[in-house]
């Protein structure tokens, strides 16, 4: 299917979903239609803009990411129009951040210069979080500055990708790599101490993947994994809350009244939806704690059905495959690692949260990329998208340069023969 066709379908989907929402109660809600029109206009404009910046932009990941964000906003609007409008503003901010990232990726070396700023900034933020962070859902992962709250871990994970890619490209041996490993371990340690297990897991796994890709050193990677497992085992023994998480995962119904409540509610919502869902606005998603952030996948399954839920998983998968292709086509090691690092982040994050919600793995609170409500999460995800688009453009331009050079070579040869 062409990207244009996909774009049309996405717009149609948005329009019909919001039309349904406009008629959901007595009377007609024009704001829902306005919302849909804004979404469609923004989608169309950014599509055109992105292609205007470079014809090499990847259209599929752009449309898919926007579709996921739109699904998120449809669910938000269904739950509460106010939060949906907030999310719309954050989405706008995210778009801005995306285009900034696209621009910076035009000169990726800029990130390399910012290496130490990113390291110190990340560690500093996480340390500050320890001291002044606000607790939310059992994890201390929010900072509030001048009434604006944000979640540093969402940005730390991006910094990790750039820092690791930098060290793993410019250095040739373990002697050169070690600062990146120390950085990853330090981030993990701080995050575990703040009880943000999801983010800690995400960072640990992403670093290991990048390390393996760059060095191909299976032994060290396995040692790293072993150390990670030992760390997980150690945290299971030391921290009560880790043990509690595992116990809830094994049987959420045993502690339904207290800690198992969220998972049990999520499972009931998914089961109630069945294959085709109860229908938009016909479920009771507000019974699930964190219904608009971490648990939004349960709400999607309840109202849109399991088949739609699988479609959402498939959307992520297409996004991931496109991301990996960008990494494979990268003409430069640094870009390759950045592209695959970003892809890994999206993969792991969506797997961890969807797997947690459907009780495949123990639940660790983390947002669903592009879909969940939350500024930090959405903006970080959009930045990720921007970085991937930047890589796509660089790939195209570098390929073009290489082709030009080859053509020039040919012409020279021809002239030499002619001469």
């Amino acid at each position: 299917m062409s990207a244009m066709g996909l774009l049309g379908i996405v717009m149609l989907f948005e329009l019909s979903a919001f039309a349904l929402l406009a008629f959901r109660s007595e009377g007609f809600d024009p704001l829902a239609l306005l919302f849909a029109l804004i979404l469609i206009a923004v989608l169309f404009l950014q599509y055109v803009c992105m292609l205007w910046i470079s014809k090499y932009a990847d259209r599929f990941i752009l449309v898919i990411a926007n579709l996921l964000a739109a699904i998120g906003m449809i669910v938000q609007y269904r739950l509460s129009p106010d939060t949906a409008f907030k999310q719309l503003i954050l989405y706008g901010a995210g778009l801005l951040a995306m285009f900034v990232c696209v621009a910076i990726m035009h000169k990726p070396a800029l990130f390399q210069k910012l290496n130490w700023v990113m390291i110190l900034g990340s560690l500093g933020l996480l340390c500050v979080l320890m001291a002044v962070g606000k607790e939310h859902g059992g994890a201390k992962n929010w900072i509030t500055i001048a009434r604006v709250s944000f979640q540093p871990s969402e940005f730390v994970k991006l910094a990790l990708v750039f820092v690791s890619a930098n060290y793993l490209t410019t250095r040739r041996s373990w002697r050169g790599y070690w600062p990146s490993a120390v950085f990853a371990i330090a981030c993990c340690g701080l995050l575990v101490a703040e009880r943000d297990l999801g983010a800690a897991l995400l960072i640990a796994l992403t670093y290991l993947i990048l390390f393996y890709i760059a060095t191909g050193n299976v032994r060290t990677t396995l040692i790293g994994m072993g150390a990670g497992c030992m760390g997980a085992a150690a945290s299971y023994v030391t921290f009560d809350y880790v043990r509690a998480r595992v116990a809830i995962w094994k049987n959420p119904w045993a502690t339904y009244e207290t800690s198992g409540y969220q998972i049990a509610q999520g499972l009931m919502a998914i089961a109630s939806g069945g294959a085709w869902g109860l229908g938009l606005t016909l479920g009771s998603p507000k019974a699930i704690p964190a219904y608009n952030t971490d648990y939004i996948f349960a709400v999607i399954c309840e109202e849109f059905g399991i088949i739609f839920g699988i479609a959402v998983i498939a959307l992520y998968l297409v996004f991931i495959i496109r991301g990996a292709l960008l990494a494979l086509n990268a003409r430069d090691r640094y870009l390759m690692l950045i592209a695959f690092g970003c892809t890994s982040l999206i993969t792991l994050q969506s797997f961890i949260i969807i797997g947690g919600v459907i009780k495949l793995i123990p639940l660790t609170g983390i947002t669903m990329p592009f879909v969940s409500y939350g500024g930090s999460s959405l903006i970080a995800s959009m930045m990720l998208l921007g970085i991937l688009e930047g890589v796509a453009m660089r790939n195209g331009e570098m390929l073009e340069d290489a082709m030009d050079a080859a053509m020039e070579e040919c012409r020279k040869e021809e002239r030499a023969h002619a001469g």
Binding site: I209, Y212, I213, A214, G216, W253, Y256, A264, Q265, L267, M268, A269, I270, A271, S272, G274, W276, G277, L278, G279, L282, G283, S284, A287, I306, G309, I310, I313, A314, Y316, L317, I320, I321, A324, A327, L328, R333, M336, F340, T343, S344, T347, F351, I354, G355, I358, K359, L360
Partner: protein
């Protein structure tokens, strides 16, 4: 270096794809396997919420006899006849989510969760009150009434099913309740026996007593070659060392020295020790424990089939000792004892066989008096599988779903749960069970003109002589036209052969008369 990196990226991408495929597969699997459980959970607010917008459909038996309906004023009302309401209370359930019957198991249909969005839209736009589908159950209300009547005031459970299709034809549990008064029970303005809301058919875990000999017999057929040709000597109690539980084959005792505790269940042995007064001189009872026969009636030289027909404890205790704890446990497991069931139509608790530690416990476990626990429905399924040549069918409660415009939306078909016996094993067991009813302990279950097989059980639940035993009978009709399997347990009613077997015989007779 770079080429290698690309290879690694491809490998990681393959891993990512696999992870997401697992995600999808697990999502489908988990909802398929547990979805009904989760949906019918009493905690699911959606079911209660739906009641305010959708009028729940009717519940009827397989012949259309009305068991539950919603009145015009929205009140949920149950069968007109009080005895029938009480007989079928556990099968039908209640509208407050207190029990797990058809009301909650089939809420998906009753409350219209299965209607398509288009149907819902048409109904809503048309301004009609939304009405859920009606559900017809596999049970015959008349048979349930009769079983309830036969049980008298005994607590316990009766379940009758078709062993070829797995359809449950009758299921009664006592003590029971009246679903019309559920609000009063909850508020406490009307008294109710403590366990009245427990469906003993599916949730009652009982010591199986001699009905468990069927399991021991199957293990013997599997692990002791030539056992059917052997002759056993039933000449007195088996003696065990009291402290270690070790079997002492060379010692015989006069079991009249032993009070009834000698044969009491394993649960009571601890208590018995505590009651011993140290001042008394040491008697045989202080040194030894015994396994003896019911009423100390010994059978002399006896074949395996006779031992089963006469329910000879010592022979089956010897068999259990020979088979060993591990193989006993394996056999129990292969028969589905300990399985966690996930049936769509009913919630069946697991039965259990706990591996005995000492020989004494092992001997008692072979006659169903150790910590073995069976639910009546599972016992019935085991007998049904014997009758059905080894194939255990999935028990079913849902006959069909009918929409408001009398369109049959769904009719369920028979599904095998698993094959637990080979055809040859099933043959031998059928003969053994037919022998029990023909000339053994189960003669009172005979139905004139039909070949009935079965097994009695008398589960001793207390050392106290004043407390009667639980009476068990489980059996089947060997007839292709009337494939019926039954299980009866009457709490503290006495012996299986005198109390449970006659009830089973009468109910089977009535079921055959009704054409099942």
């Amino acid at each position: 270096m770079r080429d290698n990196s690309k290879k690694h990226i491809k490998a990681m991408l393959a891993l990512f794809c696999a992870m997401f495929v697992i995600l999808c597969v697990y999502l489908v699997y988990t909802v398929h396997a547990y979805g009904t459980r989760w949906f019918t959970s009493p905690y699911n607010v959606r079911v209660q919420a739906q009641k305010s917008s959708v009028q729940a459909g009717r519940i009827a038996d397989r012949n259309g006899a009305l068991l539950a309906y919603t009145r015009a004023d929205g009140e949920r009302t149950y069968a007109a006849n009080k005895a029938r309401r009480r007989a079928l209370s556990h099968v039908v359930g209640d509208s407050y989510g207190q029990t797990i019957g058809a009301e909650s198991m089939f809420a998906r249909y009753l409350l219209g969760f299965d209607q398509s969005v288009a149907d819902q839209f048409v109904e809503t736009i048309g301004g009609q009150q939304r009405v859920g589908s009606s559900v017809m159950l596999t049970v015959d209300a008349k048979l349930c009434d009769y079983a309830y009547d036969l049980m008298d005031d005994y607590w316990g459970a009766v379940v009758l099913l078709n062993y070829k299709t797995g359809e449950v034809l009758a299921s009664v549990s006592q003590p029971t309740f009246d679903p019309n008064y559920m609000a009063d029970y909850i508020s406490g303005s009307r008294a109710l026996a403590a366990s009245a809301m427990v469906n003993r058919v599916t949730m009652g875990k009982y010591a199986p007593g001699s009905t468990f000999k069927t399991v021991t017999l199957i293990a013997a057929l599997r692990y002791l070659p030539g056992v059917t040709e052997r002759e056993f000597d039933c000449d007195g109690a088996l003696v065990f060392d009291k402290s270690s539980g070790k079997y002492l084959p060379d010692i015989s005792v006069d079991d009249s020295d032993f009070t009834s505790e000698g044969t009491a269940t394993a649960y009571d042995r601890g208590r018995e020790g505590a009651q011993d007064e140290p001042a008394q001189p040491e008697t045989a009872q202080d040194i030894y424990s015994i396994v003896r026969d019911y009423h100390s009636e010994y059978h002399g030289a006896i074949s395996l089939m006779q031992a089963y027909a006469k329910s000879c404890n010592t022979t089956f205790a010897r068999l259990a000792l020979e088979i060993g704890p591990k193989r006993m446990q394996q056999t129990a497991k292969s028969l589905g004892i300990g399985d966690a069931f996930l049936f769509d139509d009913l919630l069946l608790y697991s039965s259990s066989y706990i591996k005995p530690a000492s020989q004494f416990d092992l001997a008692w476990s072979g006659v169903g008096q150790y910590k073995d626990l069976m639910t009546p429905l599972q016992m019935c399924m085991l007998t049904a599988a014997v009758a059905n040549d080894g194939v255990m069918m999935q028990p079913r409660m849902l006959y069909q779903v009918v929409t408001r415009d009398n369109f049959v939306r769904m009719k369920q078909s028979a599904k095998a749960y698993k094959t637990i016996l080979s055809a040859a094993e099933a043959q031998v067991l059928q003969q053994a069970m037919l022998g029990v009813v023909k000339s053994g302990t189960g003669t009172k279950a005979q139905v004139k003109g039909y070949a009935v097989g079965g097994k009695t059980g008398t589960a001793e639940i207390s050392a106290n002589k004043q407390v009667n035993s639980h009476a068990w009978f489980t059996g089947f009709v060997q007839d292709d036209e009337h494939p019926l399997a039954i299980c009866v347990i009457l709490e503290q009613a006495g012996s299986g052969s005198s109390k449970a077997a006659p009830l089973a015989g009468k109910l089977l007779k009535r079921a055959i008369e009704l054409g099942y």
